[in-house]
Symmetry: C2
Subunit: 188 residues, 2 copies
């Protein structure tokens, strides 16, 4: 008989096992057949446990991606709006060029099969909004989160997707220039 | 014995059969397993014929998508730059919201597995460049094709992908306003 585990320890281990299984399956190009049943089999965690904890496959994939983003690509805090935006843009340009890039696209595609209006990566959106709020708190005039997404992030993904040639750092900086020039007053 | 067919007639029928097979397979969510062998089986056209005609799966999918776009969403020619850009943006917003939207995304994902730098939808790019050149020919100052893609098209795809809620016509017009305000002189 195994000694009793602390609930926190077991919970953390279940989370790690399930996350690793999702990442493995996504890396293996199995994302079109991805389901909670498949994740359960791969992770050795019971389906019922996964359903209870995450509810839906979309929520699970979202949790995995947000965790990876938060660890590998934390939202910058450089002290200036331009510094934060450039650091973030360079990070995204690098992420979409690497193995994580197709993983995010896959995760987004899985998410886009869910109900209309279901927002993906909402937790990441909160972190980015905090970054913009910090700039406002310093007296800078940040763009909206929507402007940041549309003017900087969307093109970076678009280049990776449709041109199969991720934008480099210079291009990422150009997109930040464009964002900051939408309204000259927002430039620090 | 069948009467001999004119080569043009046979060529056209082969093209139609192969295109229909690709569209069917993409609609059926079979795109992760899409291959020339699968298309050959579905279309009844010999694999060797498909390889000879299209060369690669990417080139075939590209041909299918460009044909669908050219027929269903011809590049506008309204007589003014703003008119063309708005008509085009509204069309893309509508396309990504409909069944064609996920088809394009799927096709792009398939394309993005090809060699780095392989450009997708190049024929469509030529049509759009012609639209911008017509504006220049009228003495208007059009944006570059890259600016059009980044400022208007990328966000429309991004909304459909990550927010699972395609942008409506008002939003599409706002993106055109943003594009035309990148440089005030380009506004007609």
């Amino acid at each position: 008989m195994q000694p009793a585990q602390r609930p926190g320890g077991r919970t953390a281990r279940v989370r790690t096992a399930v996350h690793e299984a999702v990442l493995d399956l996504l890396r293996e190009d199995k994302w079109d057949d991805l389901s909670i049943a498949v994740v359960a089999e791969r992770s050795g965690v019971h389906q019922a446990t996964i359903y209870r904890r995450w509810g839906t496959l979309n929520a699970l994939v979202d949790d995995v991606v947000v965790e990876r983003l938060s660890q590998g690509s934390p939202v910058p805090d450089t002290g200036t709006l331009r510094g934060d935006l450039e650091a973030y843009a360079l990070q995204v340009a690098e992420d979409v060029a690497g193995p994580l890039g197709s993983l995010y696209l896959r995760a987004a595609m899985i998410g886009s099969r869910g109900p209309e209006g279901e927002t993906f990566l909402i937790e990441r959106g909160v972190q980015l909004q905090n970054m913009l709020d910090r700039a406002a708190g310093r007296g800078e005039r940040p763009p909206t989160l929507l402007e940041l997404m549309e003017v900087v992030i969307a093109p970076l993904y678009y280049h990776a997707m449709f041109f199969n040639r991720p934008a480099g750092p210079d291009h990422a900086r150009t997109l930040v220039d464009r964002l900051l020039s939408l309204n000259p007053q927002i430039r620090p």
